[in-house]
C-alpha cells in the first residue's frame, strides 16, 4: 500500500474528483484552501492579494498497482496547462489500523 499526496490548484477540484471516481479510488482525505508554492516552476498559490490563487490537497492510500495509474492521470491533467499547477508525491505505508 502506498499513500499518494496530491497538491493542486483548486481550479482542478472537479477533475481530481473525477479521476478518483474513474480509478475507483474510494478513500481519501481532502484539504481545501491550503497554500503553498512549487520548488521549481509555477506561481505561488498563497491566497493573498499578491498571489491570489489557492490550492487544495488530497491524500489517498491505494494499492501499489494503482499508483502508476494515478500518477499518469495527474500527469495528463498537468499537461492541459502547466500554469495551473498540480503535483503528486508517493510514500510507503508501514502499517494500517
Amino acid at each position: 500500500m502506498k499513500s499518494v499526496f496530491i497538491a493542486y490548484n483548486q481550479a482542478h477540484t472537479e477533475r481530481i474528483n473525477f479521476i478518483f471516481d474513474r480509478l475507483k479510488i474510494k478513500g481519501y482525505t481532502q484539504w481545501d484552501n491550503v497554500s503553498g508554492r512549487g520548488s521549481e516552476t509555477g506561481e505561488p498559490h498563497l491566497g493573498t492579494h499578491t498571489w491570489p490563487e489557492q490550492n487544495s490537497a488530497v491524500l489517498t492510500i491505494v494499492e501499489d498497482e494503482q499508483v502508476q495509474e494515478l500518477l499518469e492521470a495527474v500527469k495528463k491533467l498537468d499537461e492541459i496547462n502547466k500554469d495551473v499547477g498540480i503535483r503528486a508525491f508517493v510514500w510507503n505505508i508501514e502499517q494500517v489500523y
Binding site: H12, E14, R15, T50, W51, P52, E53, N81, D83, V84
Partner: protein
C-alpha cells in the same frame, strides 16, 4: 458557502432572484411620475383675503398684519411673505420640507379663526389655497367666444372649472378678464334726496321685495296646500318697476330715482388672444403636486368637458408647463439610450467577444432598474437629476463585471472548466472589486447628507449612484460568474484568423497603443523633473484660467415662452393702453416669425379680483404671454429673441417701463439677483430702491431691472374734521360705511335666473362719484334724519400711495431684482454689491443681496464642503485598502488634473460653472481615483511579486492600460450624448457631461504618466530593494 459559489451552483435560483428584481424595477418604472427636478418646492399655503375698495395701506394694517400675527406660530413654518395690494391681501407661508400640507392647512385655518375678530366685517372671509402664489401656473388657456361671450364666466365656471377643480392636485383655476353679469342699480342722489330717501333704504327695499317665502299649510277639503308668497323678480325689468315708496300721494318707482342695467360688469380690461376677444384661464397646481400628472389628468378631463361648450367657444392652450418637462425627460431618456449603445460598443471593442460583451452589458439594465425601485419607495420621480445619475452610472456599473469576467476568462483559457473557473476566479477578485466600489461610494454617499436646496439635487444623485454601483458589484460577484459558467467556452485559437477578424484588426491596434504607452512611460520615468515641471505648469495655468470662469446657480432653460409687461404713464386711459397694445402686437407678429401665440391683457379689472394676485395689472399696464415654436424649429434662442424684443419696445415713446422675462415655471430656473431693502418708511425705501435700480442700470449686462414696489398711484383721502363730525352726530364708521355704499356700492340682493344668481349692486351713478366736488357733495343722513354734505364734515384731498406693500418675515421689504445678460450671475452680483456699498444707507434700513444669487452662494458652499468630505472619505477608504498612508497621496495626485480638465473643457465650450457642472466635478473625484487605484494596485502587486521598481511600473502600465482606458472610455462615452445633446432641457444637463468628460480625459492621460512618476519618487530606498528590507528585519540568521 460563498455567495458566488452558491450563485454558480444554483443558476436557476440566481436567475429567479434577478428576474424578480427586474420585475419589481419595471413595475416601479411604470408607476413613477415624471418631473423636471426632484421635489424642490417648499410646501406652501397662501391665504388670500379680499377687502374690496381698500387701499394697500389699509389692507396691510387691517388684514395682512393680523393674519401674519395669527399664523406666525403655526408648526413647521419656515417663512412668511405677504403682499398687500389694493383690494386684496395675500399671505404666503412656506413650510419646512415634508410638512403635511393638509395638516398645515388645518393649523392655518385654526389660527385664522382667532384672527377673524380683528379683521373688518366688510372684508371677505380669508381663503386658504395650497399653493404658492409666486409659482407659475401649470397651464394657461385662451378662450375665445362670439355669441356666448356675455355668459362666458358662468358657463365656464359651471361646465369647466367646477368639474376640473375636483382633479387631484389642482390648487386653483382662475379666469382672467371674464365678463361678469350683474344688475347695476345706479341711483341719482339728487332725486333720492328729493324723495327723502337713502341708498341703504333702497337696498333694504330691494332685498325685502326679492323674496319667496313659505307661509304655512292650508287645509282645504281633503288636501293640504303649502302656501307661499312669490315675490322674487322674474326678470331684471321688474327690478326697475319696484315701488320704493310714495311721495305726495304719488307712487315712486325705482326707475324714477335710478337706472337699472342688466349687463356685463363694467370692464376696464381688454383681453386679446392673437388679436381676438377672449378670456384666459390659468390653472395652478397645489404645492408639491406633480405637474405632469396633474396636467395629464387635466387635459384628459378637459377633452370631455369641452364637448359641453357651445360651438362658438374655442379653447386654445397658451402654455402647458408639463410639455417642457415631458420633452426634456424624453430627450434625456434618448440620450441615455445612446450612452448605453456607446458603452456596449466600447466593451465589445476591448473584449472582441459577443458572449463576454453580453455578460457584462446585462449588468447595466439590472443595476439601473434597481434605482427605479429606490425612486418608487422614496416617493420620488423620474427627473433630470435621477436620469443624469443613471447616465453617470451607466459607464461605472460595468467596471466590476469586467474585472470578474477578465479573471474568469484567464482561468478558462488555462484550461479550467467554466464552472470551476467562475467560482475560483471570482474568489480571487471579489474583495478587490468590493473595495474599488467603496471608493465610488465614498464620493457619492456623502451627497445624501447634504441639506438645503443643493441637497435636493445631490441627495438623489448620491443615492442612485450608490445604489446602482453597489448593485452592480453584487451582480458582478453573482450573476456574472453564473452566466460565465454557462456561456463562456474555451475558444480554440484559430490558425488563420480572417482578414477582418477581431484578431487581425483591433488587437494589433491595441498592441501598438500598448507599445507607444510603454515607450512614453519609460521616457517619463527617466525625465521625472520635466514631467513634474510640466504638470505644475498645467496646474498653475488652470488655476489662472479658473478665475475667468463665469458662474451661475442653475443653467437657464429655453422653455419657448416669455412674458412682457409694459407700463405706460400711471393712470393712462384704457383705450390709449389698448392702442399701444395693438401696436406692440404688430411689432411682435411682423418681426418674429418664431412666435406661435400671443395673449395680451391690457388694463385691470375694476375691482381687482383674485386674478390680480397672479399678475399685477392697472389701467396703464399691458401683460403679454408669448409662446414660441420649439427650440429645434428656430435659429434664435429665447434670450436673443427677448433682447431683440427689448430693443424694439424701447423705441415706443409712450412706454415708460418694460420687462421681458424669459424665466419659466420652475423655481430652480431663476438667475435673478435680488436686492432686498427692509425698512418701514415707504418713501425712504422707495427712494432707496430707485437709487439702487439706477445704479444697477449702469452696470453692463444687467437686464430686467425691476422694483417690486409698483409706482405710487394717486388716491383720495377723506380727512374728517372731528368737531364738525361730532356736531352733526356722526362717527367715522358711519361715514366710511355710508361712503362705501355710495361709491363702491353694495350687493343688495341676488337676482335669480335659470338657476343662476347674479348680484344686484346698488350705488351712485357715475357722474355723482367721479370728481372731488361730486364726492364732497355726497349727502349723508344724520341720526336726526336731516342730510349733511360730506364736504361739511371734512375735506377730500389727493395723495399718492403705493399700490402694493410687500412684507417678508413680517417686515416691509422692497426688492430690486435684475438678471444677467451676457455676463455671469456671480459677477453681476459682485458689481451690484459694489454699487450698493457706495450708497449711504439710512440706519433704519437693512439691505440684503439675495435671490438666486443667494442660492448660488449656498450651493457652492455646499459643493465645497462635499468636495472636502469626499476627499477625506476617499483617502480613508484607500488608506485602509492599501494599508498605507502614502499610497492614497500618490493616487490623489490625479485629482487636481481632473479639475484642470474641467476648467479647460468649460472654457472651451463657453459653459458657465453652475451647480450642475460643479456636481460633475465632484463626481470626478471618485471616477478618477478609481483609475489610479487600478494602476497603483497593480504596481504594488508586481513589486510584491519581486519585480524591480521601474520594471514593475512599466509592466503594470502595459497590463493596466486597457482596463483603465476601457473604464474611462465607458464613462466618457456614456456622458458624451449628455454633453452634446441639444433640444429642450439640454441646457441643464450638458454642463455635467462637459465637465465630467473634460475632467476624465485630462486626468486619464495625466494619471497614466504622472501617477507612475510620483510613485517612483515616493518609493523610498527600502521599497526599491525589498529584499534588503526584509533581511534587516530578520537579523538572527546573519
Amino acid at each position: 458557502m460563498s455567495i458566488y459559489g452558491s450563485a454558480v451552483k444554483k443558476p436557476i435560483t440566481t436567475m429567479m432572484v434577478f428576474i424578480a428584481v427586474i420585475v419589481f424595477g419595471l413595475y416601479s418604472l411604470f408607476q413613477l411620475p415624471v418631473d423636471l427636478y426632484p421635489e424642490i418646492e417648499f410646501p406652501a399655503i397662501t391665504v388670500i383675503t379680499a377687502y374690496p375698495g381698500a387701499s394697500a395701506n389699509d389692507i396691510e394694517i387691517n388684514i395682512t398684519q393680523p393674519i401674519e400675527d395669527a399664523v406666525n406660530t403655526v408648526d413647521d413654518l419656515k417663512e412668511i411673505t405677504s403682499v398687500s395690494r389694493d383690494n386684496i391681501s395675500m399671505v404666503t407661508m412656506e413650510f419646512e420640507y415634508e410638512t403635511d400640507l393638509s395638516e398645515a392647512a388645518n393649523n392655518v385655518r385654526d389660527a385664522l379663526e382667532i384672527a377673524k375678530n380683528q379683521i373688518p366685517d366688510e372684508a371677505e372671509d380669508p381663503m386658504i389655497f395650497k399653493f404658492n402664489i409666486s409659482m407659475f401656473p401649470i397651464q394657461m388657456f385662451a378662450i375665445t367666444a362670439e355669441a356666448s361671450y356675455e355668459g362666458l364666466e358662468k358657463m365656464l365656471e359651471e361646465k369647466i372649472i367646477n368639474p376640473l377643480n375636483r382633479v387631484d392636485g389642482i390648487g386653483s383655476i382662475r379666469l382672467i378678464g371674464a365678463p361678469t353679469r350683474e344688475v347695476a342699480v345706479e341711483l341719482d342722489p339728487r332725486r333720492l334726496e328729493a324723495y327723502n330717501m337713502t341708498i341703504e333704504q333702497i337696498g333694504g327695499i330691494l332685498a325685502a321685495e326679492n323674496r319667496n317665502t313659505p307661509t304655512g299649510k292650508v287645509e282645504m277639503g281633503e288636501i293640504d296646500y303649502a302656501m307661499r308668497v312669490q315675490g322674487e323678480f322674474n326678470n331684471s325689468d321688474e327690478i326697475a318697476n319696484t315701488i320704493i315708496g310714495s311721495f305726495n300721494d304719488q307712487v315712486v318707482y325705482l326707475k324714477d330715482v335710478a337706472t337699472v342695467r342688466d349687463s356685463i360688469k363694467e370692464m376696464t380690461k381688454d383681453e386679446k388672444i392673437n388679436g381676438k376677444d377672449g378670456v384666459r384661464m390659468m390653472v395652478m397646481k397645489q404645492s408639491g403636486a406633480n405637474t405632469v400628472t396633474v396636467s395629464k389628468e387635466l387635459t384628459k378631463r378637459l377633452e370631455v368637458l369641452k364637448q359641453n361648450l357651445p360651438g362658438d367657444v374655442e379653447m386654445s392652450l397658451i402654455f402647458d408647463s408639463s410639455e417642457f418637462i415631458t420633452s426634456s425627460i424624453n430627450n434625456l431618456s434618448q440620450t441615455l439610450m445612446y450612452a448605453l449603445i456607446f458603452v456596449v460598443l466600447v466593451v465589445l471593442f476591448f473584449l472582441g467577444r459577443w458572449r463576454a460583451t453580453f455578460i457584462i452589458v446585462i449588468t447595466i439594465p439590472i443595476s439601473l432598474i434597481v434605482s427605479f425601485i429606490y425612486l418608487q419607495i422614496s416617493g420620488s420621480s423620474i427627473n433630470i437629476i435621477s436620469l443624469s445619475a443613471l447616465a453617470i452610472a451607466i459607464g461605472m456599473v460595468v467596471d466590476d463585471a469586467i474585472v470578474v469576467l477578465e479573471n474568469i476568462t484567464k482561468h478558462i483559457e488555462r484550461g479550467s472548466s467554466p464552472r470551476e473557473a467562475a467560482i475560483y476566479a471570482t474568489n480571487e477578485v471579489w474583495l478587490a472589486v468590493i473595495v474599488t466600489t467603496l471608493t465610488i461610494v465614498a464620493v457619492f454617499f456623502p451627497m445624501t447628507f447634504i441639506s438645503g436646496m443643493t441637497g435636493i439635487l445631490f441627495r438623489q444623485l448620491g443615492w442612485i449612484v450608490t445604489i446602482t454601483v453597489v448593485t452592480s458589484t453584487l451582480v458582478a460577484i453573482t450573476l456574472t460568474p453564473m452566466l460565465s459558467s454557462k456561456m463562456l467556452r474555451l475558444r480554440e485559437k484559430k490558425a488563420k484568423p480572417g482578414r477582418w477578424s477581431y484578431d487581425r484588426t483591433i488587437i494589433p491596434l491595441l498592441d501598438k497603443l500598448d507599445d507607444f504607452y510603454v515607450k512614453s512611460l519609460s521616457w517619463s520615468l527617466t525625465h521625472k523633473k520635466v514631467i513634474i515641471l510640466v504638470s505644475t505648469l498645467i496646474l498653475g495655468v488652470s488655476v489662472f484660467l479658473a478665475t475667468k470662469l463665469q458662474t451661475e446657480f442653475m443653467p437657464q432653460t429655453d422653455e419657448s415662452r416669455f412674458s412682457i409687461k409694459i407700463e405706460l404713464q400711471s393712470g393712462t386711459r384704457v383705450d390709449k393702453t389698448i392702442e399701444i397694445a395693438r401696436q406692440v402686437d404688430k411689432i411682435l407678429l411682423t418681426n418674429f416669425p418664431e412666435i406661435e401665440l400671443i395673449a395680451t391683457s391690457s388694463g385691470a379689472d375694476e375691482e381687482g379680483g383674485i386674478s390680480s394676485v397672479f399678475e399685477s395689472s392697472g389701467s396703464g399696464i399691458i401683460n403679454y404671454s408669448v409662446r414660441l415654436v420649439d427650440p429645434e424649429d428656430r435659429d434664435k434662442s429665447i434670450w436673443v429673441i427677448a433682447e431683440e424684443v427689448r430693443l424694439l419696445i424701447k423705441d415706443i415713446p409712450e412706454i415708460i417701463k418694460y420687462n421681458v422675462s424669459t424665466s419659466g415655471g420652475s423655481m430652480m430656473g431663476g438667475n435673478n439677483v435680488d436686492v432686498e431693502i427692509y425698512g418701514y418708511d415707504i418713501d425712504q425705501t422707495t427712494m432707496l430702491a430707485n437709487q439702487i435700480a439706477d445704479s444697477i442700470r449702469l452696470i453692463k449686462g444687467a437686464r430686467e431691472i425691476k422694483i417690486s414696489r409698483e409706482d405710487e398711484k394717486p388716491e383720495l383721502r377723506m380727512e374728517i374734521d372731528r368737531e364738525k363730525m361730532a356736531a352733526n352726530g356722526m362717527n367715522t364708521t358711519a361715514i366710511s360705511s355710508a361712503l362705501y355704499n355710495r361709491i363702491e356700492g353694495f350687493t343688495a340682493t341676488k337676482f335669480r335666473e335659470l338657476g343662476e344668481e347674479y348680484d344686484v349692486v346698488v350705488r351712485f351713478k357715475k357722474e355723482y362719484r367721479n370728481s372731488i366736488s361730486a364726492i364732497e357733495n355726497i349727502a349723508l343722513q344724520k341720526p336726526s334724519g336731516e342730510f349733511v354734505r360730506l364736504g361739511e364734515l371734512g375735506e377730500v384731498k389727493e395723495y399718492y400711495s403705493p399700490p402694493n406693500i410687500e412684507r417678508k418675515r413680517r417686515e416691509r421689504v422692497v426688492k430690486v431684482s435684475s438678471v444677467p445678460y451676457g455676463v455671469s450671475m456671480g459677477s453681476l452680483a459682485a458689481e451690484i454689491q459694489k454699487a450698493i456699498n457706495k450708497i449711504d444707507l439710512p440706519r433704519e434700513v437693512m439691505i440684503e443681496v439675495g435671490g438666486a444669487y443667494e442660492d448660488q452662494q449656498e450651493g457652492f458652499m455646499d459643493l465645497a464642503m462635499l468636495l472636502g468630505l469626499s476627499l477625506i472619505l476617499v483617502y480613508l477608504v484607500m488608506a485602509s485598502q492599501f494599508e498605507s498612508l502614502k499610497m492614497p497621496f500618490i493616487i490623489m495626485f490625479s485629482i487636481p488634473f481632473a479639475f484642470s480638465g474641467v476648467i479647460i473643457a468649460l472654457l472651451i465650450t463657453n459653459t458657465t460653472l453652475s451647480i450642475i457642472a460643479g456636481v460633475g466635478a465632484v463626481m470626478l473625484v471618485g471616477i478618477v481615483v478609481k483609475n489610479a487605484i487600478v494602476l497603483v494596485d497593480y504596481i504594488n502587486l508586481m513589486r510584491d511579486r519581486g519585480y524591480e521598481l521601474s520594471e514593475a511600473i512599466k509592466l503594470s502600465g502595459k497590463s493596466r492600460l486597457r482596463p483603465v482606458l476601457m473604464t474611462a472610455l465607458t464613462t466618457i462615452l456614456g456622458m458624451l450624448p449628455l454633453a452634446i445633446s441639444t433640444g429642450e432641457g439640454s441646457e441643464v444637463w450638458s454642463p455635467m457631461g462637459i465637465s465630467v468628460i473634460g475632467g476624465l480625459v485630462a486626468s486619464t492621460v495625466i494619471t497614466m504618466i504622472i501617477v507612475p512618476v510620483i510613485y517612483m519618487l515616493f518609493a523610498k530606498k527600502g521599497e526599491r530593494n525589498k529584499e534588503e528590507l526584509v533581511r534587516s528585519k530578520f537579523k538572527f540568521l546573519d
